[in-house]
């Protein structure tokens, strides 16, 4: 039944890439099955009570031919009151037990030893990911392996915040969990298909909360290992862009950004070591092209007013050189 509903909703023309009715991992599927049960019970109650209300409103309206006498006065009935107390109590118990089961199953799921561990840190207004046991640090685009039924490998996210509250929500992978400063949280998912999964920050975190998008790339196991190996290399160092690199390292860029293997080791902004391996910039809001990079460096507020990165105030020549350096960071 639930797979049928998934089929209809996610069908050939999907309603939305972020809808909650097309689960692609175990927690999302448990929630989905529970929500279908809750929806069905609610629908049944709705039909019955709506029907009774509509019937009463139509049947007992005053007619034109009314004789003006008051209708019989009825003050109550203990039996009837008991009936419509006990029935809801039973329904509530059923719903509670069904809910509690899923809460325990998702929240207290035992973590397998081979799980991938990533620390996700929410920032105003972007995401930082640090892969445990490696030196890999990336931003905004989370890459994880698929978790096949035959050899499951779920991903566990440790959720931290560098500033205000945020919330991690990729609906097809699972429910949301908040990232709260001084209050480490955890969430997990085990995507059973490869592809790109979208979401966005779901807890108001400041001016640009709206443009704090989430992108999760699920790869086959081999692709993921290859990606991880690429990301753990130090930054590319091409001679053609030495000028841009010099400008980058002598301006305030390095106060906030890291490029591994260079003096740039700031932590406020996204790590740029493998910038060009990402599809987007600005937390998912712009395609990552040299033109967009250049416009972004000139003044991020054009795309994201309230972004904490200031306009860099570079000359056209400097901007061109820095953009070229950025574009070389593969």
């Amino acid at each position: 039944m639930s797979s049928l509903i998934i089929g209809v909703l996610a069908g050939p023309v999907p309603l939305s890439p972020t809808q909650i009715f097309a689960p692609a991992s175990t927690p999302a599927r448990s929630i989905f099955e529970l929500s279908i049960l809750v929806l069905l019970i609610s629908a049944a109650i709705f039909v019955v009570v709506f029907g009774l209300l509509a019937y009463a409103a139509l049947k007992f309206r005053r007619r034109k031919s009314d004789d003006g006498r008051e209708p019989p006065q009825i003050y109550g009935s203990l039996q009837i009151e008991l009936a419509w107390t006990i029935t809801p109590v039973i329904i509530v118990l059923v719903l509670f037990l069904a809910t509690a089961r899923v809460v325990y199953a998702v929240q207290d799921h035992p973590r397998p030893r081979n799980a991938l561990e990533v620390t996700a840190i929410g920032h105003q207004f972007w995401w930082e990911y640090r892969y445990a046991g490696t030196n890999v640090v990336t931003a905004n685009e989370l890459h994880i392996p698929v978790s096949e039924a035959a050899s499951p490998r779920p991903t566990y996210l440790k959720l931290l915040s560098a500033d205000t509250d945020h919330s991690f929500w990729v609906p097809r992978l699972g429910g949301k969990t908040d990232l709260i400063p001084n209050f480490p949280n955890e969430t997990w998912f085990d995507p059973q298909e490869t592809g790109l999964f979208l979401g966005q920050c779901a807890q108001y975190c400041g001016t640009q909360h709206a443009k704090m998008l989430l992108r999760v790339y699920v790869h086959t196991r081999e692709e993921f290992e290859r990606w991880l190996a690429e990301q753990s290399k130090p930054a590319a160092a091409a001679d053609e862009v030495a000028q841009g690199r010099r400008i980058f390292e002598r301006t305030s860029c390095i106060n906030c950004h890291t490029v591994a293997g260079t003096p740039a080791n700031g932590r406020f902004g996204p790590d740029l070591t493998h910038l060009m391996s990402r599809d987007t910039i600005g937390a998912g809001i712009l395609p990552n092209t040299p033109e967009n990079l250049s416009r972004w460096i000139r003044d991020p507020a054009v795309f994201k007013p309230g972004s904490l990165m200031p306009a860099m105030g570079m000359s056209d020549a400097e901007l061109e050189a820095v953009t070229a350096y950025m574009a070389s960071l593969r």
Binding site: P14, S16, P17, T18, I20, S30, I31, L34, S35, V38, L39, S42, F46, V49, F50, A56, A57, F60, R61, R62, R63, P71, Q73, I74, Y75, G76, S77, I80, E81, W84, T85, P88, T99, A100, V103, V106, Q107, D108, T164, S167, W169, P171, G174, K176, D178, I180, P181, N182, F183, N185, L198, Q200, A202, Q203, Y204, Q208, H209, A210, P305, G306
Partner: protein, 558 residues
Amino acid sequence: MLSSDALTLTKAPTARRPFADVLQEWLTTVDHKRLGLLYIAYGLFFLVVGGVEATVMRIQLVRAHNDFVSPQAFNQMFTMHGTTMIFFVAMPLVFGFANYLVPLMIGARDMAFPRLNAFSFWMTAFGGLFLYFSFVGGYGLYGMGTAPDAGWFAYAPLTAKTFSPGQSIDYWAIALLISGFGSIGTAINIIATVFCMRCPGMTLGKMPLLAWLSLTMAVLVILAVSPLTAAQIMLVLDRFLGAHFFDTQAGGSAVVWMHFFWVFGHPEVYVLVIPAFAIASEVIPVFSRKAIFGYPVMVAATVAIAFISMSVWAHHMFTVGMTSTANNFFVLTTMAIAVPTGIKIFNWLATMWGGKIQFKAPMLFCTAFLFQFLIAGLTGVMNASAPFTWHLANSYFVVAHFHYVILGAIIFCIFAGIYYWFPKASGRMYSEKLARWHFWLFLIGFHLTFDFMHIPGLLGMPRRIYTYEPGRGWDVWNLIVTVGVFFQAAGILFFVANLIWSYLRGRSAGRDPWDAWTLEWSTTSPPPEYNFASLPSVKSRRPLWDLKHPEDPDWQYE
């Protein structure tokens, strides 16, 4: 029985007096009826203000990547909209009804503490004015001033000096602190009035349901607003004196703020909806021409709702990372509240059953309320299911759900109440024709906006975003939602026109236009300052029924 003196000893209205005299009289009044009307006028004024803020937001969201307002302005709009609608619309409106009606319904001449009553109203009023002064404070001459922008529940640490420099959060915290004192004062007053001022014969069990529900509401206000006030004091200490209650950078706790806010925030929903129930419990019997079904059960269900509502707050925090056991506790308590709420719906239904229902404006609004409250309750049960809410929390589904409660249930009942008691308060009948235009336009607008608002939530649209990406399947729903706003606005125009026109030109209403049963209909419309020339005494819950049907009085059955 009612003395006939009570019905005749009222003076004819005097001739026109200078405006300054009238103004002075209203500004210095301690009369519960005038203060009630001030509360209601104040609430309706801010209803329009909050509605304008909502309209700005809906225009901004009509399509993806719209740039009608800046992100900063949008964030200020939703913060001010939420704060205004809860604290300066819904609270004053429900207090206004309690103020105006409780003394009249229990046969008293005023509230227990008339001066405290005036003090409370003006505290609430100054709170609202102070909050709105933020629009002109700071750089108000060329922008939105320092209006707060941290959301109406203002989660820490966004409210810390680090993340909200300037004065915006100070305006917010101090405005709510001030109006909070007013709320607590009114709550104490209502409790004292109900316990001490009832007329001879009116035992607690013979009070009109509105008095019972106002009492319950007042108890909840004291329990709920006090922690909010405490939290605001802590926030102000954080911001002015460098305390570290919620300052996470100095080891403070963001989660503590959440607990404080929601231990206020959830009972607050019932603070607002119980008076709505109160209005429905008066209107539905009169227009169905039947006594309320199951009066003792209705009282018990209300008290049960109030009791349980004190233990459900953390269902606002299912995504915060509580333990599975804590989550399940709040699942159970939240779902449990559906039981007494369901009982109330069934009792209203049973009251209508077998009656002769007259669909005048108050009953139209109450009928719509029943259907809408049913839906709001069912989406509430969905939200109570914690895993479902791991998706729904902070999504547009939740926004649609609580607007169903606050607009679809509370404001619909407020409209019903205004039409129902307008003849009593003004002495004139409203225009049924304009009221019908108001009802149907508002109903259509409400359903266009809030039915369709559930869908983008299910499709992953979070709340409080000033714009959104195309290609998420959200565009068409947002367009429909925005269109609905204009129907609602048109309905409000008819409402305002009706109030003004009827006040000036409406035909005289007489004391009892609805052939109703509670004491306020036994005195003149509008009632004299002293309400009753001689205090009434009652023998049943429907004293005027007893008077009108001496052959079959209620007290034979109760």
